[in-house]
Every structure is written in C-alpha cells, then in structure tokens.
Assembly symmetry: C2
C-alpha cells in the first residue's frame, strides 16, 4: 500500500465539523415520518430532472478533464452522463422513495418476569460515510438510500467526477431541503484532499459506518486504515460446483450464464468445480470455450478439452472479471467443500445437483454470504433478491451480508417500558 498523506489538523477539524453537523441533521431526519422522507426523495428526483442541463454541463467538464488526463475509455464511459442516464438516476431515487421504511419496525418483543416490557426496534445507524470512485450515480444512489433509512451521510467521491458530483449533490439537497430535510443531512466533502479521507476513516464516534464503493485498492485501504466499522465489499471469487447428480443441460446453461452473461460483475463465476463422477464435464467446458471463454484447468480438467490452458497456483484465488474461468476436477462433495473453504471470497457459491441431500449439505456447509442451488451466481443482486436497491454486496461476516439495502443501513435499540420497577 502506498504511503498515505499526513492527516493535517485542518483536515481533521473539517471532517469533525462535517460529522457534528451531520449528527445534528440526523436527529431531525430521525424524527421525520416514512411519508415525509419518501416525499423529500421525490422532490430530490424532481430537482435532478429540473437541474439536468446544469448537471450535464458540469459532467462535460469532468469528461474534458478526464480526456486531457488520459483516462481510459472504460473510465470515461463510467463517468459520462447523458439525458437517459440522468433520467435513470432520477427514477432510481424515486424507486428508493417507494421502498418500505425499515425504521420503527419491531424486531421482537417480550415481557420479563419483572413486568418490564421489552421491544427491539429498528433505528438508523446514524452518520454514514460513503467513499467511492468514478461513477457519479453513486452520489444520488447512496444519498437516497441513506435518507430513506434516516441516516445522515457524508459523501466523498473521486476527483475525476468532482464537477458532476457537486452538481448532482446540489440538486439533491435542493429537493430534499424543500421538504424539510436539513442540508447537513446529505453532505459532499468540500475538498478532494486525500487526507480528508484518512480523517473520515479515523472519525470514530463521529462517523458510525463507512461504506467504500470502488476497486479493490480503495476497499483494502479503507479496511486497513479505518477505526470506524466498515461495510465491506471485496471481491467475488465465486464457485459453481457441478455435482455428479447434476442434469447436463442445467449444468451447462448455469455455468455459461454464471460466467458469460456479464463477466465484469462481482456475482460472476470465476471457478468451475466439476465432480470427477459427473459424466459430461467435457460438454460443459466445451460450451464455455465455444462461447469465447478462456479456460484454465488443473491437469485433470485439461484432459477434457485440448483448448484448456494450464492453471497456475494463483488462478484459484483470482477474480478475473473477464471471459476467463478456472476449472478443477474434484473428488466428491468433501473435496468441493474443501476447495471452496480455501479459495472462496465468501460472496456467492453455487451447486448444480438433482440430489436433495447433497444440495442441503452444500447450502448448510458453505459459509459464503450467498449459497445457491441450481441457479446462476449472477442472480446475486439486491434487485433480484427483492430488496429494491442495494448499497452493495457485503462479504464481511458481521452486521449485514450479501446484497445490502435499507435494512443493512439500520441498527436497533431496546425500548423498555416499566411501571416503576427497581432491581432487587
């Protein structure tokens, strides 16, 4: 990891001031009703539409700067807004407005022998820091999920999108504040000084959770430096295990879809495990090869097809995010579980099998955030899971796992109602 810039007192003071303002604003937001928050988000969507010419003008500045700084065409494409994309951003804000508000839900309740009435109820986490890279839509997405769940947010986007982010943020705040959301409830870091990111990561007690959204380098830096809890989205080294009792057509269709539907998404399959007793491994592999996928295999897998290259030791721990897959032959369930336990990144692992017992064992013993039977790992997505939206896929082990939407942005408190009880 590169040496980090010194965190100046100025930066620390700035971040602490932002966070304190955010905390006060969050207390106002926490008092707003479900309908008021939804209404404010609809006003934010309307403001994004009304400010479209301005936002697109500012976006052109980022594009021009990106071109002169030699950004890759893929980066420029991520950065670029047009009327359609902006409309997509505005309607995404509206769909978040339409989601059910988790705040105030009673998780469970009981009456203690003392007569005390106990309830656990969902509340916002508080102040959430979002640290992200080039896509300017994150500004609106993350802000709207936070507002919907009653959280204040401090957004820190990438330098390459600074003009777009400012324009989107300004429009959002204009709409939100017209409906009573305090301006400080959605803040955009006013400086691109990287030391301010460091100060955010260390603002324990002032910022309650950090969500990094971006490449592996960003996430790793955040995880390493943070003194604030991190909702982590790391890589997706996802396995599909073709069990010996798998149906060939199903296995082939799932493997092809899991790898090739979109190779750049975190739910894409990166390793295919074929049971040594599965009779038609060569047909599954041929389908991948024929679709233009590079296949790297262990020595047994290579005997399935001449076009298969040799997998190196690193391949089993590599998230390709392109049309490349590693393939290993495994001797039964135990070996498959062992391979997955060692190499999975804990994102999404799947089995294809017609055998119920084998399926249940796999679903029980594989420890990943998402475990699937007879389905493509590319379904790993908040929308497909019925969550309506997602702030990301969490691969950590506590708080929230898999697709994280509004519930993952909440916590709970215990409400205790007594009638004067004192403890003996």
């Amino acid at each position: 990891m590169a040496t980090q810039p010194e965190i100046s007192d100025d930066c620390t003071d700035l971040v602490h001031d932002l966070a304190r303002d955010a905390r006060s604003a969050q207390r106002v937001l926490a008092r707003m009703s479900d309908a008021e928050k939804a209404d404010a988000l609809r006003a934010a969507a309307a403001a994004l539409r009304a400010e479209a010419p301005k936002i697109l003008e500012e976006n052109r500045k980022d594009i021009a700067a990106g071109e002169s700084n030699g950004l890759s065409s893929a980066m420029l494409d991520r950065l670029k807004l047009d009327e359609d994309r902006l409309e997509g951003i505005a309607s995404a804000v509206e769909s978040v407005a339409g989601l059910a508000d988790p705040v105030g839900q009673v998780i469970d309740q009981s009456t203690a022998p003392t007569g005390l009435k106990l309830q656990r109820i969902r509340i916002p986490i508080g102040v959430i820091g979002i640290i992200y890279e080039s896509r300017p839509n994150v500004t609106a997405d993350a802000a709207s999920l936070c507002v919907r769940s009653g959280n204040a947010t401090i957004l820190r986007g990438g330098s390459e999108a600074v003009h777009s982010n400012r324009a989107i943020h300004a429009a959002m705040v204009k709409g939100l504040s017209s409906k009573g959301v305090p301006e400080a409830a959605v803040q955009l870091m006013p400086t691109q000084d990287r030391a301010a990111v460091g100060a955010m990561l260390k603002a324990s007690g002032l910022i309650d959770m950090i969500v990094p959204r971006g490449g592996k380098g960003l996430v790793a830096r955040v995880q390493n430096d943070a003194r604030v809890p991190v909702l982590a989205h790391l890589d997706g080294i996802n396995h599909t295990y073709i069990h010996d009792k798998a149906d060939l057509d199903m296995a082939r269709a799932i493997a092809l879809n899991a790898k090739m539907r979109r190779t750049g998404v975190c739910g894409a399959m990166e390793t295919l495990l074929i049971d040594a007793k599965f009779p038609a491994g060569e047909k599954v592999v041929a389908a991948l090869l024929d679709a233009g996928c590079e296949v790297r295999g262990d020595s047994r897998a290579r005997s399935l097809d001449k076009r298969i290259g040799m997998a190196g030791a690193n391949d089993w721990d590599t998230e390709y995010l392109e049309a490349v897959v590693s393939v290993a032959i495994v001797d039964g369930m135990e070996a498959a579980l062992e391979h997955i336990a060692r190499h999975s990144s804990g994102h999404t692992d799947a089995i294809v099998t017609a055998d119920d017992d084998a399926a249940e064992r796999f679903l029980t013993e594989v420890d990943s955030a998402i475990v699937m039977r007879n389905a493509s790992s590319q379904f790993a997505d908040g929308g497909e899971f019925g969550l309506g939206a997602e702030i990301g896929i969490a691969t950590g082990r506590i708080h929230a796992r898999g697709p994280v939407a509004l519930e993952g942005l909440t916590t709970y408190k215990w409400q205790v109602r007594g009638e004067g009880q004192t403890r003996p």
Copy 2:
C-alpha cells in the same frame, strides 16, 4: 496510550496457526446439532466439577503470585475461586447448554419473481477472539456461549489469572472433546506475550470478531488497534431524567436504585437530570444524599440542598462507578434530550414520567442501546432481558447492541434454491 510491543513474526505465525486450526474446528462444530452442542456443554460442566481440586490448586498459585505482586484486595477478590464460585461457573455452563440454539433459524424468506426461493438463516460468525482481564470465570462463560452458538474461540486472559485459566480451559476441553467438539474449537493462547494480543487484533480474515472484556484501557486499546471487527463494551454514562410529570415516590425509588443498588455496574446511573418544573427535586436529591451518595450539581441543582458539591465540566462525561452522582436541572424535554445526546455513552438512559407522549418521545429520540421508561437503569442486563446469559453489553452502533447473548454471536447467510434459473 503506551507504546505497544513489536509484533514479531513468531507471534504472528503462532496466532495465524491457532486461527487456522480454529477455523477447521469451527467447521466441525458447525455441523453438530443443537442437542450435540448442548450435551457437550453439560460434559464440560461435569468436567469442571470433577477437576475442582486441580482448578482450586492452580488458582492458589495465581493468588499467591498476586499477593506477592501487590495486587489490590479488590483484584485479588475478583481472581479468587472457591468451591462455591466454581460451582457457580459450572452451573452457568449448564444454563448456557439449556438456552435455545440460534443457529439454523430462518430470519425471513420469500420467493422472487424468477421463482428463486430465498431464505436468510442464522449461522455462527466463525472464529471469535476474547481478550479479557482478571476474572477466571470469563474463560468458561465466553467459551460456553461460543460453543453454544457454533463458534470457535481463541481466549486470551490476563497474566494474573494464567494458572486458573489454564486449569479451567483444560477441564472444559476435556469435557467438550469427550462429546466430539474438536480441541481446537476452544483454544487458550499458549503465551502471555502481549505481542500475541496485537497479532490477534490484526488477524483480519482469520479471526472474525474480537470481544474485549475488561477495563476501559483494554477496550480502548483493542478498538484502536483492531483490524478485525470489535464487539465493543465501553462505559456506561447513564442518565435518568425526572420529567415534570413524574410521580415523586417512583422518581425517588428509581433514582436511588439506579445509582445505589450496585454502584460498580455498567448499568448504574451516573447523571440525574431533573426537570425545572418537577416540583420535588429536593426530595429525590435528599434521598441520594441520605443514602450516602456524594452529589455534584450545576449551580441550579446546588440550590436544592446545601450538601451538594459543585460539578466541574468533566463530571458530565464521567463514569464514577461509585457512590457519586452528577445532577443537572434541565428546562424541559428538549434540554434533557440535548444533554443526553451530548454526554451519554449510548448504554442506558431512562425517563421517569406519567405522561405517555413525553415517554414515547424520549424512547424514540434518545439514541442509546437501551432506553427505558419508569424503570431503574440497573435492569440493563442480559439475564433481566430474558437472554439467559450475556457476553457483555455492546455500546457500538452496528451488528448487536445492548445485552448481547447468543444471537449477537451469529450472523446470517442467504440460501437460494432454484430449478435451473439463469439470469436474462
């Protein structure tokens, strides 16, 4: 914070080896049924009883060392075991055996429009590190809660209790392993080298969560140095707000109990807020003073009784844990909420009032892990909340808050059952 010892490669290797063994053992534990885990814990309790002479003998070594090292009598008392205390430890292990197993519970389920069947089910977190100080009962308490919830654990107790911890650990493992729990599922750090603690805190991906149990210095060090999620138990700066509509007798009884029942527990009241319109503040304060409590007030509170001393600025942020209380007069609900938002440590805050609207506003707006109406804050306890046991009270904002028992030692995964679906 004192300079920390260098973490040698040896220490890091040791901790990584322990954690990898723990991970393998945890996979075995995860496959054990509810009844098998309960049975193993009963065997551990029996082994603690059978090994009592040995454990007490080892404990005498710690006591002798403590005496010659000049430990305070309070420290020696925490350290000391006798037959009654050991029987208490063994029966506590048995009660954990009797608790409901959270593992495998279905949190929620749905069917997506694609026909995919989604379930979120509770699973163990994995490998949990417990870092604690002098009380040797933590060795058995923490280990049994972890085993009950299917987690492997690495225990690192204080040097002053090293012989007692080893003897308790050996007995526990003897009992557990007689019923199929792998020995590595409950490990005691084999060295007292403090660098091993540092290596635990940095074992990201190998240890899944750290639970520090001890004084503020220990918890602060852990929070500052950890790269692993921490279930944090910090201080309890707890407020009781006597609203103007409070019943005098109830207010007096609750204030007295909240402060004086046991002054050293984290649920004890540390600050009393009296509404300026409450007509009998002097009677509540007099009850505290008459019971031998030192009272430190702001200038308005001091007018209630001549015996009240002057509170300094630090008093509002002090957890006394003794017979001292700070008292402030507040002008209504808004001022009380403001004081609590600024000074509460987020543990337990209470209101005494006969007014339902005021009570509900307080329970909604105070953001602490536990908020109470008309009850003593000393009820803040896993046993009183019906959880059967607790690994501690968490004052952080994510994952688990308030009294944390078995559920707080679990997480969830998504199980997805399909029939060959591929994503369009």
